[in-house]
Symmetry: C2
Subunit: 379 residues, 2 copies
């Protein structure tokens, strides 16, 4: 691909995957489909680093977030939700919609949740049924410490539910080892297929909880999905073409290896951060995810106008900040292992272009050169 899209999903789709999705759509009640579904599920378990069930939903990631809440929890359940960005806030919206008693654990945007603080709140204000968190918070670029949070949640007997939509497959997430009862992700991030599918893992412990849930569910019912899967089916017509593409992208990920994929993301992130820092810009995320680099705009520079310039003059898409950071931060994604470090030079080049057009003072090429140094050091 010609690298021009640095939005944090939909990620550019590799050519091999596009080709696969162009083949005739399988009938979802055929043995070929059942074989595909079983293969995809086995490969997803590897990416999730889990021996638990992983189920396929035809929905975007938010549908899987709803599935976690309505299958496992009940009205009135007290839950603690880590809120340090737009997607953490989605947990609160969801819990409130379904009548849970949700306490937000507010974290300043750009910072990661402090596990010790969460431990204290769980102790002082508990008991809670569940802790809900975000792995890589796409609105700020922060990576929360799921490993330690999982240990804390488990020590208080809470279910641990993790939105790993943008992070899974880019940053390490060890579902089983880190005590994650439900992890979920979407198709259009590190799995590199178009949006429309979501995947959700369910621990044995969570299945026991699901038996007790008092909330109704049908389309997003996980028990139905599990029962159908045992027959090689999905309960409702799935997004078959996307599953065909997913089989190919998961195959590619297996060829490369998960550890190597993490390293690729880490390297692209380092290249980008070095370029941004050399331009004298401040990184938004204190504990940065390798999915995207969030950058605070310097005083006097309107991020929205800058991104418009970059898009119009250079054809490059960089994402705006979200909610109250719209125009105040920009987000450069490096998501999907198909991106080479030199692709990130395109993003830094476009950023330099935008900054110079909007009156920011710096020496042209400073960002590019710093990024290039990291490329050479890590080659």
């Amino acid at each position: 691909m010609k690298a021009t899209n640095f939005a944090p999903g939909p990620t550019p789709v590799p050519d091999r995957v596009v080709q696969k999705m162009s083949e005739p759509v399988l009938t979802h009640r055929s043995s070929e489909f059942s074989d595909l579904l079983r293969q995809v599920t086995a490969d997803l378990k590897h990416v999730f680093q889990t021996k638990n069930d992983v189920l396929v939903l035809t929905a975007s990631g938010s549908g899987a977030m709803e599935a976690a809440v309505v299958n496992l929890l009940s009205p009135g359940d007290r839950v603690l939700a880590v809120c340090g960005g737009k997607f953490g806030g989605r947990w609160i919206e969801l819990c409130e919609t379904f009548g849970l008693d949700a306490l937000p654990f507010d974290v300043e945007w750009g910072r990661a949740a402090d596990p010790d603080e969460i431990d204290r709140v769980l102790e002082e204000k508990g008991p809670f049924e569940a802790v809900l968190a975000t792995h890589s918070e796409t609105s700020t670029g922060v990576l929360h410490d799921i490993k330690v949070l999982g240990r804390v949640a488990r020590s208080h007997g809470c279910y641990f539910i993790v939105d790993a939509i943008s992070g899974l497959g880019a940053n390490e997430l060890r579902t089983d080892d880190w005590h994650v009862d439900i992890a979920l992700t979407g198709s259009q991030k590190a799995l590199m297929i178009p949006p429309g599918l979501a995947f959700i893992s369910v621990s044995e412990r969570a299945w026991q909880g699901i038996e007790r849930s008092a909330l109704p569910s049908y389309y997003l019912n996980l028990k139905r999905a599990k029962d159908s899967f045992e027959k090689g089916l999905t309960p409702y017509t799935p997004a078959v073409s996307l599953l065909m593409g997913l089989a190919e992208s998961l195959g590619m990920m297996k060829e490369i290896g998960l550890e190597e994929i993490y390293r690729i993301h880490e390297r692209n992130a380092r290249v980008t951060r070095a370029g941004v820092a050399a331009l004298g810009l401040e990184l938004f995320a204190r504990r940065p995810s390798n999915v995207l680099t969030s950058v605070l705009m310097p005083p006097g520079i309107d991020g929205s106008a800058l991104l418009k310039t970059i898009k119009e003059d250079r054809g490059v898409t960089i994402a705006n900040g979200m909610e109250h950071y719209r125009g105040k931060a920009i987000r450069i994604a490096h998501l999907g292992y198909d991106i080479a470090p030199s692709d990130m030079l395109v993003a830094i080049s476009a950023l330099e272009h935008g900054l110079s057009r909007h009156g920011y003072e710096f020496e042209t090429g400073t960002g590019i050169a710093a990024a290039q140094r990291v490329i050479l050091e890590t080659s």
Copy 2:
């Protein structure tokens, strides 16, 4: 395409649509995406024959069925659901899941609901909040009389909710003229794109009802979808590549014209029915949909074994009967206007092959010849 797939969806995807879906996936927060969403929505309104809102959900058709129930109705609401097949039965499952008081209006499989009978039940056992029905019942091949049912439902002050998943765009459905408050469909039927999107129309009257609903919803919330649409967005990441394909397929449908598309489906249905009847087989549906032709297996012929033979020897997919008609009926789809009448000869040829291999006595070519006569008569 080489015609080998006669399952009632996923429908074969036209080449132009496949090409469109192979282009780089648009970012769902771009002005290009907003333009696409607005165009698609306007074109969908034409296919739905409605001036009402039509909303896009990233889900299969069953997700849109759930959306109809959880947005418009409330626990304890009395509803009447027409049940003459698997998909009619899905309305009952859904209503029971969400605590509604659902009365099934049972119709023998293969027959259409009698509007006079429904009128009587609404009168004698009413009042009911809503009537739920199926346009083209894919499990039996029956087309229900939505026009008259709509008049009956309205005369009793009921909301009228129609699952038009397989029928919309193949058989006439005049949402507004026929008093349909909520109509819904999926992407993988007459719209000829892969599964993963659903579309739902909402009348002004239904929006008023939605304000009063006591059931919670989030991912499938229609008010959120409407509010986002007004900003050119969807509330959650949509299946963008499928929407790109949909824009193309709706464009193709506009070029041909809706009336002509109905005629194409009708002709393919007539060709198929003639072939089947000439073989001495009985049509399952008394009021047949133009989406598919359901055929009862003669005594002593196992439909499942016959379909296996057809698949193995001829590479042709014909669908099995569903639930208690598995092996007792088969279903030959002629769905998507891209299918030529001569493609149906492939299906009849394969059917003759299967019948002869399984010991059914008939003169080879009888079905093909009868189908061919209809092709020539209607050319």
